[in-house]
Amino acid sequence: MRTTVPVIIAFLSGFVMILAFFFNPEKSFIGRLEPEVLAWVTIVGGFTLLLGVVSIVRVNFTAVKRRKENWPYKLATLISIFAMAIPAILPSSWSPLLGTGTGSIYDWLFNYLDAPMMSTMFAMLAFYIASAAFRAFRARNAEATLLLVTATLVMLWRVPMGEAFLKSIHGDLPQYINTYIMGGANLAVQRGIIIGAAMGAAAMSLRIMLGIERTYMGK
């Protein structure tokens, strides 16, 4: 029973989505099932958010209470959760500082703390790319050297100064890089991976729908 019911639900959910794909949503009920089912996913997801909040509070509160290693970080997490959530949940009719409108505490925290921190994380990517590229582009053997040369050409092509330099060598060189490296070798490999991944995803979906694959339930 513990396995059969989820398998039946998985089969029905998958089958409805497949059926909906073959029907016109404007002209048949079956076609309109797809957005309905997806709306249910959102509703279930909304309810499970509470599970997430309970989990994060329990883990961090226990660590603070027991003064575990690095507990001040956990305390900062707890303070951040409640500082963002409580003013946002309370109605703005009580005070303009409450709710999620412009000038509210939530709005201020989001614009001046949350968003800059996200941008900082994203910006750090540039440094990580540099360190990863340094390791990946070392000419250890013939393949790595080929990668180094190709990457250097593509990087030069991507920046205006590099493009001007390439043009000074041969007027059509940037165009050749675009056509043969990016539009040829690179695109062909990417499409090969995409086709393989799509087949893998379809096969796995079929295995799940037919109850052959039950590993996602721990079986």
């Binding site: 029907f23 499970t48 994060i56 990946a136 991976i193 393989g196 893998g200 079929l206």
Partner: protein, 289 residues
């Protein structure tokens, strides 16, 4: 005949479905309830299902199936063993997408296999997740793995825990875990985006053995550069079958390979026909709106 019963059942099911389509189309006042332009996809899906079911039946009957070696998956047990020797935890990230994405389901399946190994060796396991639904599924799978290994008491609900819903808040938390707890092994499986390199480079700096797997082609170069082993595209979906060695699941992989051969042949035939200017009809067969 008996062996092919699922195939006949499926064929019958598809015939009934087609009949339903026809009836539904006829009953609709205006024509076009059934997307005739997607009939090619229906035929391909039927063919795909039949091939997979045939191989699944063959595998079930005991026919030996060859599956090529996937180094990244062979190293999972080694990597967990290393963590056990070092007395350090294993960190598993099941991607950054919701549970309704097939990549996340594949990652959860692999998590079950990894949890069995960590349970067997009494190695600490940490699974931070971005979505509560993924957390619920992950907790179920890990608990089941610990029970199957005869160590239900070693299971702790907080092994799989929700850390943050925002992409970079999640990344910052996981990077913090990597630098503070120094896990011996990091396993990244599932859908990753801009954070892939941030995670993999931090793990590399922390000196962890790293195994990654994703079907996102744009993130693969980052994982290849920063991880020790990388599963590319379809290998992620094959992982649960490969690790479990279950004939039923391996049969599905062989069926998938045959469909790839059919697709490659179609691409070759289409390229040749179109090159000679007589392939428009062939191209139209594969077109879907």
């Amino acid at each position: 005949m008996n062996r092919l019963r699922p195939v006949w059942t499926l064929l019958l099911g598809l015939l009934i479905t087609l009949l339903l389509f026809t009836v539904a189309s006829a009953q609709t006042e205006s024509d076009g309830a059934f997307r005739v332009d997607r009939l090619n996809a229906l035929i391909f899906m039927a063919l795909f299902s039949i091939v997979i079911l045939i191989y699944t039946r063959w595998a079930k009957s005991g026919k030996k199936l060859f599956i090529r070696k996937i180094n990244g998956l062979d190293e999972v047990e080694e990597a967990v063993g290393r963590a056990t020797e070092m007395g350090k935890p294993v960190l598993f990230i099941p991607g950054l997408q919701e549970i309704d994405e097939i990549e996340t389901i594949a990652a959860i399946s692999i998590l079950g296999r990894v949890a069995k190994i960590t349970a067997r060796y009494d190695t600490p396991l940490m699974v931070p997740v971005r979505y509560p639904m993924v957390m619920a599924a992950g907790q179920e799978v890990v608990e089941q793995a610990y029970i199957e290994e005869g160590k239900p008491d070693a299971y702790n609900k907080d092994i799989v825990r929700y850390v943050a819903g925002e992409q970079f808040a999640f990344t910052a938390t996981v990077n913090g875990i990597m630098m503070r707890d120094r896990p011996a092994t990091n396993i990244f499986m599932g859908a990753f985006f801009a954070e892939s390199l941030l995670l993999a480079e931090t793990g590399n700096a922390a000196g962890s053995i790293q195994i990654a797997g994703t079907a996102q082609p744009s993130q693969l170069p980052f994982f290849i550069a920063a991880c020790d082993y990388t599963l590319m595209g379809e290998e992620l979906y094959a992982a649960s079958a490969y690790l479990s060695h279950e004939p039923l699941l391996l049969g599905g992989l062989k069926g998938q390979d045959w469909m790839k051969i059919i697709l490659v042949l179609s691409i070759l035939i289409g390229t040749i026909l179109l090159s000679f200017g007589v392939g428009d009809w062939f191209y139209d067969l594969y077109k879907s709106v």
